[in-house]
Structures are given as structure tokens and as C-alpha cells.
């Protein structure tokens, strides 16, 4: 399918609205941390492109890679936002498989990092203007700076996203059509375990002591060996967490467990 001009504009606009620094879609809570998650973005991109199932299928795998993404202040992290809003629409349009879409999103996420520093540098302009306004007593004007000043971020989001999806679709389609089977196979082998990288980032955070890995193994075994579904796993997890919580409370009260 072809991504139309309107669709490309809408997707690029949504990409900007769900960027970490955009205030206009309810700020980071509604934008970045909710609609901006690849799994949720996929639903909206699917609606815009008229193909929700395909978008969800690809969004799921992009989400798994970035599931442990943390963006601590000031550090430059892989650009999940651009990766989602470029790789996902292109993947849907060119009917790519999950592994290739994930590979594309990884390339975008890391190449897009080059924009982070110029973005920060240009943001200094409105910040300095706001500072000067406060010092000169132009208080009402200073209040409005974060609104128009965010235009800097708009430039660094909307334009690259739009250009990549609108002008990149022909190239991606050509690549998909002309890829030899061996390349597709390698991409599949490469993409198959890729989400484990995302999970390792999470494990690194969550595993406080080596025995914690047993919980991971437990969840793994529930699905692998017993074929449990998500809800069942969650019920088991909550039971164990509750017992652990109660033991922790009892120990702190100094009473017998």
C-alpha cells in the first residue's frame, strides 16, 4: 500500500505529539509514557493507515525491544520515538515481517541520536529568551515561552519523521521486493531473539541478587513447560508478590513470620 500525503502528515504529527518533550498531548504522562509507547502508538498508526492488525503485530515487536527504555536526565538514549514512527508505518506499508521492521527500527533509533545535541543546543535559544524576559520584567511573555519555544522540538520531530515515511516508502518497498531469500532468512534469525536485549536491560534493573533470576525462570517455565497464558502468569506472580510483601512487613514489625 501507499502512504498518502495526509497519512504521512498525521503520523509525523502524532510522532511529535508523543515525543518526550512535547507538552500538548497531556505532557509526558499521556504523550510519551502512554500513547508514545510503541504498542499504543501502533494502534493509532494502524487506525491512520487503516490496518490495525498489521500495525499491532509490528508494534508489539518494536515495543519488546524498547520495553526497558529509561531516559535519565540529560543522557542521550536510543530514539524510540523516531524509530517507532518511521519503522512502523514503513513496515505496514511495505508489508514487512516483524524481524525486518525491528532491524529497521534499531537502525533509525541509533542514527537519530545525531539530532539530540543540536536539538538541545537550539532549545537554549528560547530558554535564554525566557530568562531575559523575567529579568526585564516581561512576566506574561515569559510564561508563554515554553509554548512557542517547543517549536524547536517540533522541527526536530515532524520534519525527519515526515521525510522518512513519505519519501522513504519507495526505497523500503524496493528493498523488500528485491531482497534475496538468504538476506531475509538472516534477518529473521537476527530478529528472532532480539527482544531479549530489551529484557536484559530490564533484568539488569530488577535483579538485585542472583536468586532473583529464579523468578524470571519461573515465569519462563510457566509458559514454556506449562503453556500458561498471560493472565494465569499474572495471577501466580501476584500471589508470590503478596506473600513476599507480607513477609517483608512482618519482618519489619519485628514479629515472627
Amino acid at each position: 500500500m501507499q502512504i498518502s500525503l495526509i497519512q504521512a502528515i498525521l503520523i509525523a504529527l502524532l510522532g511529535y505529539l508523543t515525543f518526550i518533550h512535547t507538552p500538548f498531548l497531556g505532557g509526558g504522562l499521556v504523550g510519551w509514557y502512554c500513547i508514545g509507547r510503541p504498542l499504543v502508538s501502533a494502534l493509532f498508526i494502524g487506525i491512520i493507515l487503516g490496518n490495525i492488525p498489521k500495525a499491532m503485530e509490528l508494534g508489539l515487536y518494536i515495543q519488546l525491544i524498547f520495553i526497558g527504555l529509561i531516559t535519565p536526565g540529560g543522557s542521550i538514549t536510543p530514539d524510540m520515538n523516531l524509530a517507532t514512527y518511521v519503522a512502523l508505518p514503513l513496515g505496514v506499508a511495505a508489508n514487512m515481517d516483524a524481524a525486518s521492521t525491528v532491524a529497521l527500527s534499531l537502525i533509525v533509533a541509533n542514527v537519530a541520536n545525531i539530532m539530540a545535541t543540536p536539538n538541545f543546543a537550539m532549545t537554549m535559544i528560547p530558554v535564554n529568551i525566557q530568562k531575559r524576559m523575567v529579568e526585564e520584567g516581561k512576566l506574561e511573555e515569559a510564561v508563554w515561552v515554553p509554548i512557542w519555544g517547543n517549536g524547536v522540538k517540533f522541527l526536530f520531530r515532524f520534519i525527519p519523521t515526515f521525510v522518512c515515511i513519505y519519501y522513504g516508502q519507495a526505497g523500503i518497498e524496493w528493498i523488500v521486493k528485491n531482497s534475496p531469500q538468504w538476506l531475509i532468512d538472516i534477518m529473521t534469525i537476527f530478529g528472532n531473539p532480539m527482544c531479549l536485549v530489551g529484557f536484559a536491560i530490564l533484568l539488569k534493573l530488577m535483579v538485585k541478587k542472583p536468586t532473583d533470576l529464579i523468578y524470571f525462570t519461573f515465569g519462563f517455565a510457566l509458559v514454556g513447560a506449562l503453556g500458561a497464558d498471560m493472565i494465569t502468569v499474572l495471577v501466580f506472580a501476584l500471589v508470590i508478590a503478596l506473600i513476599q510483601f507480607q513477609i517483608g512487613r512482618a519482618a519489619k514489625k519485628g514479629g515472627a513470620v
Binding site: 497531556g26 505532557g27 509526558g28 503485530e57 522540538k153 529473521t188 534469525i189 531479549l196 532473583d212 519462563f220
Partner: protein
């Protein structure tokens, strides 16, 4: 100077503007400060009616560097708003105290906030949402939106409001409370089990190695390993990836490049199958 009472309307105004604009002009120099300037700028007439000089001082106080995890850390702007209202009412609140409270709290809340929100709550919720996403169904995405916003909007509003009411005591209530450690530990356990579950459900490692003689498959390594324990190759890869990243401090990029090399070698030797 008359008593300035923070009304619900004022608190709500400050809360919404903080929640939306905290990162709007984010940059490495003053980070989230421009959002505080806006937040107080909008309330300047309420805090210092008609006193332009005081209003200017108020906004200038918040020009310097401020940075924390903006959502669970929203308690800090709340606390600062409470202090500014006291100051505006004539109480003796030195400027240095406001700056000191901000500086003292932003570090701990950045740590707790990042560990709890994008480090624990969001990945767990996403892991569950991913587990619910099957055959292109949007149910997982809808589940995530409803639960995430349903939890986070009341929680952040509560923190912000508590900050306004209790001032600096609110921070102590949260930082000094040992209940949160037990909650984090319990949440962590849920997270670990759920991540184990989706790792098994979504990651694949297909071993292509087969030992064939006279058209009869004598050894199918893939079948063999999965017979020992279902999805054993995935489990081993997961542990190896974790070991490289956590114990050997490999970056994600380095691990991904290793995957690529292994995929290419694995394909051409026939050891790995798509």
C-alpha cells in the same frame, strides 16, 4: 500582607501546567526550570496581587537548574508551591530554603521516580499488555492506556497536592517510609515473572543443526534441546544476553552487533534456522 490561601483551582492550574510542560524546554543547562517559571508565572497574580516586583522575584527564583523525575517527582513542585504560598502570606521563608529544598529533593526523587516508573511499573504493565496482544488485536494497547492513566493521574495529583499541603514533611513521609521498599520488592517480583513469561512467549532461537544419514534424521539438535526443557535455547540466550550486559557491561548496541554476527555465521553454517 494578607494571608494567601492555595485554592483547589490554583493547585489544579499549577499541577496541569507542571505535568504538561515539565520537559517542554528541556536542555542540559537548566533542564526543567523553564516549566517551573511558567507554573509560578501563571500564579503570580494569585500569590502577589498587584506587586510586580515580588512577582518578578518569584519567577526569577525558579530560573536556575531544576531536574527530577517529573511525574512521581511532581511532589517537589507541589512542595515548592506550598512554600511559596507561605512566603507570600508573610511567613519567614528565606529564598535559600526554597532552593535548598529543591536541590535536596530532586536527586532522591529522580532516582526513585526513574526506578519505579520507567524502571518497574511501565515495563510490567507493558509486558502484560504485550502478553495480551495476539493476532493483531488492539486489546493490549487499550489495556495499557486505561490502567496506566487510571493509576498515574490520581497518584500524581495526590503527590502534588500532598506536597502543597504538607510542605517538606511530605517528602519525609515518602522517602522515610519503609512501606515503599516492600512495595518495590513485591512489584519487582511481579515484573521478573512477567518478563520471564514474555521472553518465553516472544523470543525464538531455532537450531538448524541436524545429523542426517541415508535420508534419516539421526539427531535433530533443536528437538533434542527443546525436549530437555521447552525453549531451552531461548533461555540460554536470555541468560547469556543478561550476563553480557549486566556482568560484562556490554552496551545494547554491542550485543545487537553480536547477534548480527551470530545470525550471519549461524545461517551460512546451517547451525541456526529462520
Amino acid at each position: 500582607m494578607s494571608e494567601i490561601k492555595l485554592t483547589d483551582k490554583m493547585i489544579k492550574n499549577a499541577y496541569i501546567n507542571w505535568m504538561c510542560f515539565n520537559l517542554a524546554l528541556y536542555q542540559p543547562e537548566t533542564m526543567q526550570a523553564p516549566a517551573l517559571v511558567r507554573m509560578f508565572g501563571l500564579l503570580r497574580e494569585d500569590l502577589y496581587p498587584g506587586d510586580k516586583e515580588k512577582q518578578q522575584e518569584l519567577m526569577a527564583r525558579h530560573l536556575p537548574f531544576f531536574n527530577t523525575e517529573p511525574f512521581l517527582g511532581c511532589i517537589i513542585p507541589g512542595i515548592v508551591l506550598g512554600m511559596e504560598a507561605e512566603k507570600a502570606s508573610g511567613a519567614d521563608v528565606p529564598d535559600e530554603l526554597i532552593t535548598a529544598i529543591k536541590s535536596a529533593l530532586m536527586g532522591p526523587f529522580a532516582g526513585i521516580g526513574d526506578a519505579l516508573l520507567p524502571g518497574t511499573f511501565i515495563p510490567i504493565l507493558l509486558a502484560i499488555a504485550c502478553g495480551l496482544t495476539q493476532d493483531g488485536s488492539p486489546i493490549g494497547a487499550i489495556f495499557y492506556m486505561v490502567v496506566f492513566l487510571g493509576v498515574m493521574i490520581p497518584v500524581t495529583w495526590f503527590l502534588f497536592k500532598k506536597g502543597c499541603e504538607l510542605g517538606a514533611n511530605a517528602a519525609e513521609l515518602i522517602l522515610g517510609n519503609d512501606l515503599k521498599d516492600d512495595i518495590i520488592t513485591a512489584l519487582n517480583t511481579v515484573g521478573l515473572i512477567v518478563v520471564g513469561c514474555i521472553a518465553c512467549a516472544y523470543a525464538n532461537v531455532n537450531i538448524g543443526f541436524k545429523f542426517i544419514r541415508d535420508d534419516v534424521v539421526l539427531v535433530d539438535l533443536h528437538e533434542l534441546l527443546n525436549g530437555v526443557w521447552p525453549k531451552l535455547p531461548v533461555f540460554v540466550t536470555a541468560m547469556l544476553t543478561y550476563w553480557l550486559m549486566a556482568k560484562k557491561n556490554w552496551s545494547a548496541m554491542k550485543v545487537i552487533l553480536l547477534y548480527l554476527v551470530v545470525a550471519i555465521v549461524g545461517y551460512f553454517t546451517g547451525f541456526l534456522a529462520p
